[in-house]
């Protein structure tokens, strides 16, 4: 290279630098222009100046003429976050399934979209169309995500927005449940309490005109024709009006009995709603007349009435459990518990409360079985307690839960431990079998009080816990995940408290143990794909499905257990464990709340799946097909798995697991 050429290049660089600096001035000016707009709109008006500057320097300005499409499900992965500067945009749900409450939403200046899709890096579920001529600021997805990561105010705004989507999705789920719940609930209710109790009737000789006036005045579509003895002789409906009056040219002075459908379908009031539904389905009718034992009309039940029945109450169930004197009565109560849980789900109770509620009623059932069996077995003067393990121990039961239980006892001085143990085992066998009959299947892994391994004295339990903690072999770690979530269900709770104190003391003095638990907990990762959203081929024999327990809730549960033990939390419930441990370990509350939301959503999906897709009378599974979820649920599920990964990453760092 000659000196002259070199100088030439340097000279161009000098101009290049001037150009660079004038371009920067331009960018700053344009950003200033954009900021003037941002400062007038939330959440931007609350953002820090540097975050605002970053947004303004990256935001392009785009124009959409009235009527043009901005973004839709077919546009592929969303690449921009849009903030409306002026004009009006309509968001419309695409496809047949409504995933949010609204089907059409109008957005105007200062509002933004599509927050959920751009956060999740997915195509939008909505179709966005400019209604008026519209200008938008358009922030590239990567800058949007960077801003979310760096600006707490912007992050809060977006997460709140996504949380509101989550809320909407939950309500949508509940709607599905309430439909299903009311269908089921009709089955056993007697007709005496359903439908209209004082139906409007007219005599057979009433002229058509008067009959029609009665219908019009009362705003009803059908009329019962009954004699003075209140025995129904026929029904006259609007359909009859068309077919038998108008088209047949029948004068309105004709008695209604000539136009009515004679021999209406009648059913006795002690029959069940199921019978009424069956009759409607069989005969293709919309109303059945309800009569008393003498055949006198007492009511009318319409199709619609069958969907708005009184719900089974919590108090009734508790009374029937506590008053049950045999397994058969408890079996009925167990079915009611299931039914009531569905109804609660339908009424908007979240997963956390619901699983605790199921656990509480299952506890009541189990206690009653334990009590009933004590009539045949006597342990007076002996301190003992019935222990619940696993999900029951954590108050996290779903609809499909088998038994996990054990016994702890303190033999009185001088008593034969072995003889006492045999008596407890015999008793436990009766209880286990009764629980099975009531609806809690026997544990396949034989984690039951009737197994001599899990019917131990307090000292034996302490030794057992101690040996698992000192020698964290793989099966010891597996046992720890089941048995360390224990809870006294019946009997002397102090025994369980003593076990807990021992456990926490032991773990505190054996740091290696928690590290081994952490390593174990990290063996399973959430099924997030690198290219696809979800990995669905992890379960051999179930291609296309995700096990929501194994790859979902268990991850949270395992992490919760470790942090609880590390911070001396006595609770067994995972959500309580995480909340309390987070306080003691100074984990930010918004961070832990996001994690809990994730866990709750997965639990809700499990409940939904077990209820809506489980065969009646069989145990539901936890295998879901993500492709069958609606777009929004899929997005939230992905976010929930991300939360699982986040808390795992934290565990990995805290315990230095490679």
């Amino acid at each position: 290279m000659t000196t002259q050429q070199q100088t030439g290049q340097e000279q161009q660089q000098a101009i290049g630098q001037v150009e660079m600096s004038l371009r920067q001035d331009g960018r700053t000016r344009m950003a200033g222009n954009t900021q003037a707009f941002l400062r007038n709109h939330a959440p931007f008006n609350k953002m820090q100046p540097d975050a605002l500057q970053r947004f303004a320097e990256k935001a392009k300005i785009v124009f959409y003429a009235a009527g043009s499409e901005i973004l839709g499900p077919d546009s592929g992965k969303v690449r921009y976050f849009y903030l409306i500067e002026s004009g009006k945009v309509q968001a419309r749900q695409a496809g047949e399934v409504t995933v949010t409450e609204y089907s059409v939403l109008s957005l105007s200046a200062g509002e933004s979209f599509p927050i959920g899709a751009v956060t999740a890096g997915r195509p939008s579920t909505n179709l966005y169309t400019a209604v008026d001529d519209t200008f938008c600021y358009q922030l590239p997805a990567e800058d949007f995500l960077a801003l979310m990561a760096s600006s707490p105010e912007f992050n809060l705004f977006c997460t709140r927005y996504i949380a509101s989507l989550l809320d909407q999705s939950r309500r949508q789920l509940q709607l599905q449940f309430s439909q299903r719940a009311s269908e089921q609930q009709t089955l056993n209710s007697p007709l005496a309490g359903i439908g209209s109790r004082s139906p409007i009737t007219v005599a057979p000789e009433t002229p058509l005109r008067a009959a029609l006036e009665t219908m019009s005045k009362a705003g009803i579509g059908s009329l019962v024709i009954a004699g003075e003895d209140r025995k129904a002789v026929g029904v006259f409906t609007r359909t009859d009006l068309l077919d038998r009056v108008v088209l047949a040219d029948l004068p309105l002075s004709t008695p209604v009995s000539q136009a009515m459908s004679a021999n209406p379908f009648m059913i006795e009031e002690h029959a069940t709603a199921y019978d009424a539904m069956f009759a409607m389905a069989t005969h293709g009718i919309r109303h059945v007349l309800v009569t008393d034992a003498e055949g006198k009309l007492t009511g009318v039940v319409s199709e619609r009435d069958l969907f708005s029945l009184q719900r089974v109450g919590l108090r009734q169930i508790r009374q029937s459990i506590d008053g049950a004197h045999n397994v058969d009565a408890l079996k009925q109560a167990a079915a009611d518990v299931r039914q009531l849980s569905f109804n609660m789900l339908a009424q908007g109770v979240g997963a956390e409360q619901l699983t605790q509620f199921i656990s509480a009623l299952n506890d009541a059932l189990t206690r009653r079985v334990i009590q009933l069996n004590l009539e045949k077995h006597n342990f007076d003067g002996i301190e003992w307690a019935w222990l619940a393990f696993g999900s029951e121990g954590r108050d996290e039961q779903t609809f499909s839960t088998d038994q996990d239980n054990g016994i702890v006892f303190a033999p009185p001085e001088g008593a034969s431990v072995e003889a006492l143990k045999q008596r407890f085992l015999a008793y436990a066998l009766d209880v286990n079998n009764d629980l099975d009959r009531v609806g809690f299947p026997l544990c396949k892994g034989n984690i039951m009080a009737s197994n001599p391994q899990w019917c131990l004295t307090l000292e034996e339990w302490k030794d057992q816990f101690g040996s698992w903690i000192r020698m964290p072999q793989p099966d010891a770690l597996l046992n720890a995940t089941i048995f360390f979530d224990f809870r006294a269900l019946f009997g002397k709770h102090e025994l369980a408290d003593a076990m807990r104190r021992h456990l926490l003391a032991q773990t505190a003095s054996n740091p290696m143990f928690l590290r081994a638990m952490a390593k174990n907990a990290l063996d399973v990762e959430p099924p997030l794909g690198k290219i696809r959203d979800f990995l669905t081929d992890l379960e051999p024999g179930h291609p296309g499905k995700i096990d929501l327990k194994k790859y979902g809730s268990r991850i949270f549960v395992d992490v919760a257990r470790i942090y609880a033990m590390a911070s001396g939390v006595h609770n067994t419930n995972s959500i309580q464990r995480l909340r309390l441990a987070a306080q003691r370990l100074s984990i930010r509350s918004d961070e832990i709340n996001a994690v809990l939301e994730g866990l709750n959503f997965i639990q809700l999906l499990r409940l939904q799946h077990q209820y809506l897709e489980g065969e009646p009378g069989t145990q539901g599974d936890n295998l879901i097909d993500p492709d069958k979820l609606n777009e929004l649920d899929r997005r939230i599920l992905k976010e929930s798995f991300r939360q699982a990964r986040k808390i795992q990453t934290r565990l990995k760092l805290d315990y230095q697991v490679q």
Binding site: Q11, I15, R23, D25, A31, N33, T34, A59
Partner: protein, 221 residues
């Protein structure tokens, strides 16, 4: 041929120009003109507005210049340009470099402005006097194009503020700086290209032609 051209142009450059400015002007001169046959979406339009000490290009001074590009339908924050000549008091090699930098920024793209005789007049004089460059870009004049594209909203040449009102754009209160004005022009240009497509004016070349024709027609008939 190329050598001859170089020779001729260099000959017309004022002798006071620093070497780096000469070299950059050379780069600009020999660079290929922007293609004008692509659709609007693929064309980089440079929207430009100026600030001057008065309305007369022959006697008043050019004080500042703001430009931003529209590309792929969007006003691009990464592709903007702003110069305030008053800071250098309009003198010296600094101004020469800034003017040259604008040529490199614009890169022979079609220029969009409002009222060419004003904006173009000032630029032409500045480039001629300072750099010896005969500045003849491909102009798109919104002042003439808007009445022919939006005949429903106004059919004669009108002040810019009229169009800002008609389109309901938020022009802020008080005096606008050159960049705010440029960005308003850019937004109007975005609206205008959508209209143009509806009238089968699909490319930059057609738009430039339309701009020339409408100004010619309106001036002469």
């Amino acid at each position: 041929m190329l050598g001859l051209k170089k020779f001729l142009f260099r000959g017309s450059a004022p002798s006071h120009l620093p070497d780096d400015v000469r070299a950059s002007l050379e780069v600009w001169r020999t660079s290929a003109p922007a293609p004008l046959d692509d659709l609007h979406f693929h064309t980089r339009y440079v929207v430009v507005d100026i600030v001057s000490s008065g309305p007369n290009p022959e006697s008043d001074r050019l004080l500042g210049l703001a430009a931003s590009s529209i590309w792929k339908g969007a006003i691009q924050p990464d592709d903007t340009f702003y110069v305030d000549f008053s800071t250098l008091d309009g003198e010296g090699a600094g101004v020469d470099r800034q003017l040259t930098a604008f040529l490199l920024f614009a890169a022979k793209a079609p220029l969009v402005t409002y009222h060419i005789p004003y904006v173009g007049g000032f630029l032409q004089r500045a480039f001629k006097e300072r750099l010896g460059v005969d500045f003849q870009p491909q102009w798109v004049d919104l002042a003439w194009l808007l009445p022919s594209m939006f005949e429903d909203k106004g059919d004669t040449v009108m002040p810019l503020d009229h169009w800002i009102d008609v389109f309901g754009l938020d022009a802020g209160s008080g005096r606008r700086d050159a960049m705010a004005n440029t960005l308003l022009l850019a937004r109007i240009c975005q609206m205008m290209t959508v209209r143009a497509v509806g009238k089968q004016v699909d490319t930059a070349a057609q738009l430039i032609e339309e701009s020339r024709a409408s100004s010619f027609l309106r001036r002469n008939h």
